[in-house]
Amino acid sequence: MLMHIPSLKSKTKKTSITTLEASPFLYMPLQAYKTPLKPLVNVGDLVLKNEKIAKSNGVFAGSLHSPVSGKIIAIETESEFPHIKIENDFLDTCIEINSTSVEHLTEEEILETIKNFGIEGSGGAKFPTHTKYNTQQKNISHFIINGAECEPYLSADYAVMQQETEALLKAIQLVQKVIKAEKITFGIEKQHKELQSHLLKNAKKLNISIQIKLLPNTYPQGGELQLIKAVTGKELPKGSIPAEHGITVSNVGTLWAIYEAFYNEQPYIERIITISGEKAINRGNFKVAIGTPVSHILEEIGLPWNTENQTVILGGPMMGKAIYQPETPINKGSGGVLILPNPTNKRYNCIQCGYCTDVCPQHLMPMEFARYNTEKNIQKLYEFNLNDCIECGACAYICPSDVPLMKSIVEGKNLLHNA
């Protein structure tokens, strides 16, 4: 059973995407999917907008580009939060990027550009997109576009689907050149069903054949395996890779970044986020540069930075993280910044009601994680398949006793990782 949670999107859903004023300092995170990025610049160097400033190699290769022109004033690789600090000169001098026209690109060139432009999954996992689309050996039968933004408050993906429709569809066309799927399906939630005719109309104009699948408003509908199950009816075995089953899933945010890369010659240096929450003023959907510190975002919407009488969250309310460092930046996977009232916890004993098991999309038993994490019982944590947990937070949301389930899941995963 997947659960329904209030969507809380109405306040930001219809706002048009506005560009947020650039921050005077940017903190570019040096962490890509599973690998740290190596800086290509030194302190004191001048960088241009769109210039590559860090990269990593290998299957999961990633790269990072400067969203502004300015000066490198610090590089921290050893700290808890490795980053490159850039001082913005507000000139926005761009680096020259030579490109051939989109129509004449070969498959390899498309993948190479996606890789070079540092495009990663924008849904949160930050999986390198070139690795995902590099599927020569496998036949992809189904390309699913993930429009299910199941986190409450967040409406950035909705804004892209509604306002950047053409960009989105052109990106789909481009990706289709590489993966050559037989069928393209757009998965959107029933709460956004007005998008259906809008998307179909635009697709017809561009002559792309897509299908729309309306999905129930459940959480976590946007999880990759949950989306595949909802769209195809097939539940893939835990731990399997969609491509093995002929399926590729992409987030609308990622596709928007791909459009920017090919049609505007712009690497992944900015993304669309939602600013919302009970304590926020000026809620809405904004285009912000990667590396923009959260404190700057708060100032821009007219809120002073403080963590005493409000909780600032990077990401959605379910999976996002509470932020206590004002320099914490927007990264390629952050879908929003939320300002919520402070929590008041009322912790009860577990009454073994089993709600957490009921709502777990991976059919796990979260209460056992809490128990065996306290006991530090690694064998049992493994047996109860803690590694299959997608950390969606559904169990912590529903728990009537407010047992710290997410905390024990994260700690337990560390135990397993180090064992």
């Binding site: 009232p341 008041t344 009601c353 949301y397 529903i398 009537p400 905390k407």
Partner: protein
């Protein structure tokens, strides 16, 4: 001055470092009973479902109300129709029942909550709302004329031995309310069974048909009630147990809100119906010949299955485990009723027995899943 301010004012002497600090759990319990805590958390999900433990418990209390109100009415109805035979209007029956039942509820809550508060203060915990349910269940499964001090002692036993000894809310093995009833049943058998305890003030009168239907059956007497009477609940019995109709209303509330497990209830029905059909087919004696559908509407079966077997703490917690647990409760209930007429209230014994076995059921269900998964992984490794 709003109520909120008043409570804050009241809470002041209980704050950190103040002289009444160690009594803080008591005042905090009052506060959270009146107000919902703000639902956001620091770790993990930053928003929370509106239903916390307190709401869950209050939902169960609401689900119990129809049975409680009908129970009060029936107490008066049984008394007037069998003894004084005068006024049978709803209001007068209800008022008589209220007069009889309310003191039991007050004693049950008073004694139970006092112990809970004492343990909360001793342990430095917050008081949990769990007792709100137990405290209402206990009077509903007692005969109406049981002396109040017996109720009090049963409550003491149930809360201390049945619950707090194991660590309090969420830790108990047995359902506390059933523990109270079992205690009363074995400690004061003359007040808990027989021909006269089930109708108020029946002890003064000789000729009375105040037995429960199951008691009658066990004694080999004729049953004068129709299935419809048994369903609607106008029969002698424990206060809240008689009306299957109003218990079903409660069951519906529990199932719709998701508070009570429908799997356990459905499993119990399947178990009882299956067992009933087998006995009806054998039909070796009157007890076995008692129609299966009547078993569902007499005695504490419906009440026990809806409100006691579904107690999440003492029931099985895995999905498959809940089915097994429910089915076994249903089967054992009928087995005990038929093979051990000394305990006509089979459902109490059946649930307590299955409470003990619930962890074992879960253990094997989980082991089964782990094994199945290992097998699948091994098969996958072979193919690749």
């Amino acid at each position: 001055m709003s109520l909120r301010d008043k409570i804050d004012e009241l809470k002041k002497p209980f704050g950190k470092g103040e002289k009444l600090e160690k009594w803080a759990p008591a005042i905090n319990a009052l506060d959270t009973f009146l107000y919902v805590p703000n639902h956001t958390t620091k770790k993990g999900a930053h928003i929370r479902d509106g239903v916390d433990l307190k709401r869950t418990m209050i939902t169960v209390v609401l689900a119990l109300l129809p049975a409680l109100i009908y129970g009060m009415y029936n107490t008066g109805y049984q008394h007037f129709s069998q003894i004084s035979g005068s006024d049978l209007s709803f209001l007068s029956c209800f008022m008589y029942g209220l007069w009889k039942v309310l003191p039991m509820v007050v004693v049950s809550y008073g004694v139970g909550l006092a112990i809970e508060f004492a343990f909360a203060i001793y342990r430095g915990h917050e008081v949990n709302e769990g007792y709100l349910v137990t405290g209402l269940l206990i009077p509903l499964i007692m005969p109406v004329d049981i002396p109040l001090w017996m109720v009090a002692i049963s409550v003491v036993f149930a809360v201390i031995i049945g619950k707090e000894a194991f660590g309090g809310t969420g830790m108990n093995i047995l359902n506390p309310a059933l523990t109270a009833r079992a205690f009363a049943f074995f400690a004061y058998p003359t007040y808990m069974s027989g021909t006269k305890v089930w109708v108020s003030e029946a002890t003064n009168i000789d000729a009375i048909s105040g037995e429960t239907i199951l008691g009658k059956l066990a004694g080999g007497k004729e049953v004068a009630y129709s299935t419809m009477d048994m369903f609607s609940g106008a029969i002698p019995g424990s206060i809240g147990e008689t009306s299957t109709l109003w218990i079903l209303v409660g069951a519906l509330i529990l199932i719709i809100t998701g508070v009570g497990s429908w799997r356990i209830m459905a499993g119990g029905l399947i178990g009882a119906i299956g067992m009933g059909l087998i006995f009806n087919a054998v039909s070796a004696n009157d007890l076995m010949a008692f129609p299966w559908y009547n078993h569902l509407v007499v005695g504490g079966f419906a009440f026990g299955l809806v409100f006691m077997a579904t107690d999440p703490v003492s029931a099985a917690q895995t999905t498959k485990g809940k089915w097994i647990y429910g089915i076994l409760v249903g089967m054992f209930c009928l087995l005990i009723r038929i093979f051990n007429p000394a305990y006509p209230e089979g459902v109490m014994m059946a649930i307590l027995l299955m409470n003990v076995f619930a962890p074992t059921i879960d253990h094997y269900v989980i082991e089964g899943s782990v094994k199945k998964r290992k097998k699948r992984l091994a098969a996958k490794l072979k193919t690749t």
